[in-house]
Amino acid sequence: MEREPEVTAPPAAVEPVAFELSPTDPLMHYLQQAGGPVEIDKLKLDSPGLEQMRKADVALVVPLVSQGELIGVLSLGPRLSEQQYSADDRKLLENLASTAAPALRVAQLVREEEANIQARERYQQELRIAHLIQQNFLPREQPDIAGWTLSAFYRSAREVGGDFYDFIELDNGRIGVVIGDVTDKGVPAALMMASTRSVLRSVAARFDSPGTVLEHANELLCPDMPPKMFVTCLYAILEPHSGKLVYANAGHNVPYRRRIDCVDELKARGMPLGLLPGSKYEEKDVMISPGEIVLFSSDGIAEAHSTDGEMFGCPRIIDVVTHHASSADLRNEVLDSLHAFTGAEWDQEDDITMVVLDRLPYDASDFAASGEERLATFEIASETGNERAAMQRVVEVVEGLGIDPTRLDKLKTAVAEATMNAIEHGNHNDPDLPVTIEVTKRPRELRVAITDHGGGAQIPDETAPDIDAKLRGEQTPRGWGLFLIKNMVDDMIVTSDEVHHTVTLVFSLGGES
C-alpha cells in the first residue's frame, strides 16, 4: 500500500505510508465490495484502518481485487493541484487497478510459493538429518549366535519417529537386547534416541541386572529430557547358552513369547525413561526353550490404522505370533498381516520396529552346533511321593553317561527335592497340574529342568537353615529343601514367567567328552 503521487508532478520525495489493515476491519469488507475508487472523506465506518488513512491524509483509495478477493489497495493523497479527483482520473485509476490487481496477485503467489519451497526444503533437509542420525545409530548387523537367530526390522515413517533397537555384546557370551521409542518425531526425537542409546550402552556395560540398567539410564536421562518428551524402552539380557532371558520394561510395548501350546506376554512394570527421577523397574526372567520365539515390537505396528480408522491392535499381533510357522520369518508374517489390514495405499503413520529372538528347535543338525541333546521329557502328577518316581526316571535316563554312584546319589537327591518343591509349593499338590521334567545333555554337563505352574508369584527368600537355631526352637525343623539342592549340584538356575516356574539343575559331567 503505497502513496501514489500524481504522475504529472512528481515531488522530490514521497514517504511511503504503511497501513495495518486487520482482516476483520469493516473497511476491508467495504473495499472488497466497492467496485471502484473510494473517497475516504465520504466514508462513515467505525474502522481503525480508516482512522489511520485519515491521519495519513489519504484522499482516495482504489481497491485491488483479484478473483473476488481484496489483495491490496492503491491509496492516494490529495491532488497536488488541490483539485478534486475528476471522473477521468477515477476511470484511469479503475483501469489501472483492474490491470494491476492480477499482476500483483501473480507476484504474491510467486513469493508465497518461494517461501513454501524454502520451508519444504528445510523440512526435507531435517528429515534427511533425522534419517541419517537414525541409520547411524541402529546396528548394521545382528549378532551371530549358535542355536539362535536374532533378527530385527526397522522402517521409518515418512516423518521419522524415534524408534530404535540395539544389540549389546556383554561378557560370557550374553547379549543385551534393546528396543525403544522416543515420543516426538524428526530431529529432536532422533537426537534423543542417539543420546538414550549411548547412555544405555554405557550403563549396560556396568550392571548385570536389566532393572538396574534402566534405573541408572533413567537417572542420567531425566535432567536433559526436553519437556513433553520421554523414552519407552525395554532392556533384556539373553544368556544364549541356557536360554535364560532377564528383562525389565520402561513402559514399552509388551514382548510376546511363542511356546509350543500358547503365547505368553512378558510383562514387567516400569515408568518410561526421562519422566520421573527415582523410578524403579521390575525385573522378570523367563527360560526360552528350543523352538520358542520372542517378538519385541514398537507401537507403530499395534497402533497402525486401517482405512476405516480401525487400529491393528495387540490381539492381531498375538494372532500372528500364535500361528507363526517355524519355517517362516515372523517379521514378514507380521508385516504381511499389517499390510493386509491397512491396505496398499497406507501412509505409514509411525516408525515400525521389530526384534525377534528365535531359539532354533532341536534337530539332528543342531546337536553338532550346540552340543546339546535332549535325553528325555516327561511329566508326573502332583502327588506327594511322586518325586521318587521322577528320581527313578532320571536315573534311568542318565544311565550310560558314566556318572559315578556318589555323584548319582547327589543328582537323585537334588531331583527329588526340586520335584517335591514343584509338587507342593508350585502346584499345591493339585494332581491335575503336572510337573514337567526335561533332561538335556551338553558336552560337559547335564541339565534337569523341573517346571511347575507356580509362575507369577514372587519366590520368597528362604532363610538358610541353621541346625543350632532349629534345636533352640528358633527355626522350624523343616526348610532343608533348597539348601540340599544347592549343595548337591554345580548350579541351580531359577526362572519363571506368568504361569510357570522352572528350576534347572546344572550338573557337571567332568572330563572331556
Partner: protein
C-alpha cells in the same frame, strides 16, 4: 515307589535302645518314627540304625530334627550308624552330625552309648 517306614525297637542294654530303620524317611514318616521313639521310653541313649534306609528327603531330615529336639529336652543322647556315604555327607552338610554322633558299626555306636 515309596517304601513305608517301619522301625524295630531293640533294647540291647538297660539304658540303650536301638531303632532299626527300614524303608523311607520322609515327611510322612512322623507316626512310625515317633511311636518307635515312645517305645524306646526312658532309654538314656537312642541309637538309630540306618542300614535299612532306602531314601530320605528334606522332609525326613526335618523329622529327625524334631526327634533331636525332643531327645535333647529329655536329656537323651542320639547316635547313628549304618549310613551310606551319601546320607553321611548330608548329615555333615546340615551339621546334624554335630548333634547325632555317627559311627561306622553298631558295636562302635553301642560302646559310645554306654559311656
Amino acid at each position: 515307589m515309596p517304601n513305608a517306614l517301619t522301625l524295630d525297637v531293640r533294647q540291647p542294654g538297660s539304658s540303650t535302645a536301638v531303632l532299626d530303620v527300614q524303608g523311607d524317611i520322609t515327611a510322612d514318616s512322623e507316626k512310625p518314627l515317633m511311636e518307635a521313639y515312645a517305645e524306646a521310653g526312658s532309654a538314656k541313649a537312642i541309637v538309630l540304625n540306618f542300614s535299612g534306609l532306602e531314601y530320605m528327603n528334606s522332609g525326613g531330615i526335618g523329622l529327625l530334627v524334631t526327634l533331636l529336639v525332643r531327645a535333647n529336652r529329655a536329656k537323651q543322647k542320639l547316635l547313628a550308624f549304618g549310613l551310606t556315604e551319601h546320607y553321611r555327607q548330608i548329615f555333615e552338610l546340615t551339621r546334624i552330625d554335630e548333634a547325632i554322633e555317627i559311627f561306622g558299626s553298631e558295636d562302635e555306636a553301642l560302646q559310645a552309648a554306654s559311656k
